[in-house]
């Protein structure tokens, strides 16, 4: 079975909510919609205090090349535009909306009917994704229209659809593939048209045989779309690893997948593309997995952007106790939340609650040179070396050892028998090296 060649780990899967169908989460009383929800520059608000907005109305506009529009997820009145603490506790501007009813923009098609035909030209598809605020829903929230704008001189050959969901616990993509497979196929065909490619590969890990079977059956009636089962290995959902696994090509250091003729999109993104192009629906809701061993009823929910995490947790029977760790995202790459009243954003794929017994880190001990971190690094780096270089502030050396190639998957950190804080050091080092390079470029 296919997989990427170097490195990788296999943490316990713990897909507690895999069998739970997607439930529509009740509309909250108020939402907080942050203005910085995608990679790149924050969006600029186009509504002000007192404005009445409808579901799907644009409330903030992306500025600059890498930036995206943001749409209201509810109907109601804008209370204010003010700073609100995000997952890390740092404040950033957000639009506060008080909800009244559920009135959608008339242009949005709310019927369930499957619309297979897409009459738009590739340029119109790119424009639609841009104006409807579609971003990569795999976690990195890279604006999708930018991915479809292929730089001059490069030629895309394959569209790769990421249905890997290699993070333990998370099941939102799995459920989406099971319940919205047909829409997904249409979304993929639209992305293929936008890129001008004739081949699309869907990569799904072998721990989701039902999704592989379901999508393979659907794909047989769509020319050019193939489903490939992959061996279960983290971090197969990283785009470089997925390209290696599916088409056996290696993205050169510091380059984008288009360099080897590939464009990677998540299944969630493909579904959002279908809704934007065929149903005129901007990205204002997404599937979020609420899970963890401390959660009585784990589940998958279709949640409006801006809903508070605390509301999701209460709905799932969560009760606060000391020592719990609540993580936005999966256990490997997710970030701990400092505050439960943070809003769900476009990049929130799951909320994971770790019980007190599992939330503590190991005590840090000396490196015993076992080389496990080097063995598991999917980018072929030497994490122990990078961590030490970063700790000692040898940033030029770290740059030479390609610290910027690190995808922050945390495999080294996960596998270290001495409990060393490898990724923490590397992250600090990456920021410092990036700063160094910027300073050099400015000269």
């Amino acid at each position: 079975m296919k997989t990427f060649k170097i490195g990788g780990v296999h943490p316990e899967e713990n897909k507690l909510s895999a069998g739970k169908p997607i439930e529509v989460f009740p509309i909250p009383q108020k939402v907080y919609i942050p203005l910085s929800q995608s990679l790149g520059a924050p969006s600029k608000p186009v509504v002000k205090k007192g404005d009445v907005v409808k579901v799907g109305q644009m409330i903030a506009q992306g500025e600059g090349f890498i930036s995206s529009n943001i749409h209201s997820s509810v109907s109601g009145t804008v209370v204010k535009v003010e700073d609100y603490p995000g997952a890390g506790g740092y404040r950033s501007p957000a639009i506060f909306i008080d909800v009244e009813g559920d009135e959608w923009e008339e242009s949005i098609d709310r019927t369930e009917a499957l619309n297979k035909e897409c009459a738009l030209s590739p340029e119109e598809i790119v424009g639609r994704l841009k104006s409807f605020g579609i971003v990569g829903l795999g976690g990195a929230t890279f604006p999708s229209h930018v991915k479809l704008m292929v730089p001059a001189g490069k030629k895309p050959e394959f569209l790769i659809i990421n249905g890997v969901e290699c993070e333990p616990y998370l099941t939102s993509d799995h459920r989406l593939m099971m319940e919205h497979g047909e829409e997904l196929m249409v979304g993929i065909s639209i992305l293929m048209k936008g890129l001008g490619v004739t081949k699309a590969f869907i990569g799904i890990e072998n721990n989701k045989p039902d999704a592989i079977g379901h999508l393979s059956k659907l794909a047989s009636s769509w020319p050019g779309i193939e489903v490939h089962p992959l061996k279960v290995k983290y971090p197969q959902g990283g785009e470089k690893q997925l390209i290696k696994a599916l088409v056996n090509r290696e993205v050169p250091s510091g380059k984008l997948p288009i360099e080897v003729g590939c464009v990677v999109n998540n299944v969630g993104t493909a579904f959002a593309v279908y809704e934007a192009v065929q149903k005129n629906k901007p990205l204002f809701e997404r599937v979020v997995t609420v899970t963890g061993k401390s959660i009585p009823t784990p589940g998958n929910f279709m949640v409006r952007i801006g809903t508070l995490v605390s509301a999701l947790l209460v709905h799932s029977g969560f009760s606060a106790e000391d020592g719990l760790k609540v993580i936005g995202g999966g256990p490997m790459m997710g970030k701990a939340l400092t505050n439960l009243d943070v809003p769900v954003v476009k990049g929130t794929s799951g909320i994971l609650v770790m019980p007190a017994s599992e939330s503590k880190r190991m005590a840090e001990q000396s490196c015993i040179r076992c080389s496990r971190c080097t063995t598991v690094c999917p980018m072929g780096l030497e994490p122990f070396q990078l961590a030490t270089e970063s700790e000692r502030a040898f940033y030029e050396l770290a740059e030479k050892d390609r610290i910027l190639d690190c995808i922050e998957c945390g495999s080294c950190h996960y596998t270290c028998p001495s409990g060393r804080h490898l990724l923490d050091h590397i992250r600090v080092g990456k920021a410092a090296v990036a700063k160094l390079i910027r300073a050099r470029a400015a000269k």
């Binding site: 603490p85 740092y90 404040r91 400092t338 505050n339 880190r361 804080h421 923490d424 050091h425 600090v428």
Partner: protein
Amino acid sequence: MNEIIIYSMITLAGLGIASAVILYFVAQKFKVIEDPRIDIVADILPGANCGGCGFAGCRNFAEAIVKAESLEGLACPVGGAVVMGNVGQAMGLTVEATEPKIAVVRCNGSKAHAPAKVVFDSASRCSFAHSLFSGESGCPDGCLGLGDCVVSCHFDALHIDSETGLPVVNDKCVACGACVKACPRGVIELRYKGKKDRRVFVSCINTEKGAIAKKNCEVACIGCGKCVKVCPFDAITLANNLAYIDFEKCKLCRKCVAECPTGAIHELNFPTRKEPVATSEQSDTTT
């Protein structure tokens, strides 16, 4: 027999002379001329190699002084005026007196004033914590208390107080500025040491709105501006909800300290104020 000894002596002597001639010319060719004053200045400097002057070490600093032929903008924070005076003498230059400085921690968010709401579970490093979250108390600007400044200090001038969780600067501080660079939040500032070590400063750098800042820390500067009004020397400015006392203008009158509603303005090493004599006490004595 004698011939062997004579021949070998002549050969050796010849070799020696030839090598001496070659070495002489090589030495002439590759001669490095170094200004002897660099050695003299480097000997005067303390040799701490702390980098506080802005150069990689004391010798680099000495080279810079000799090259510049002037002491303008160059100062050794460790040696202070005494060492710079000696350097000036050796170089035949006059030195302007610089006011000595010291590191000041501009945060008073101790464990009691700014209680922790979450627990940080990683290595004890401010740089990690700063890149991950706003801090255990929720203040996004305040001291994280994990001691990056203590590690950076070459002079044992900083330690973390176990009770407050904040760094304390002692009189070993030479104002080299290593801690200022090490602090990811910019909490530490170099300010004038002041006469008799007396200093007045705003012990907060939080720029959030007053109500939000106060929610996380009861001794935060809330940007009310009372101190700005009361200052007779225009030394205090208010920007981004935060007051700042310019140490070059401040005359240490301490009017602002009494005015501050949250106690964010600190005075150090002043004698305790005389309590105003109660009038009732006076009346008691007369009766």
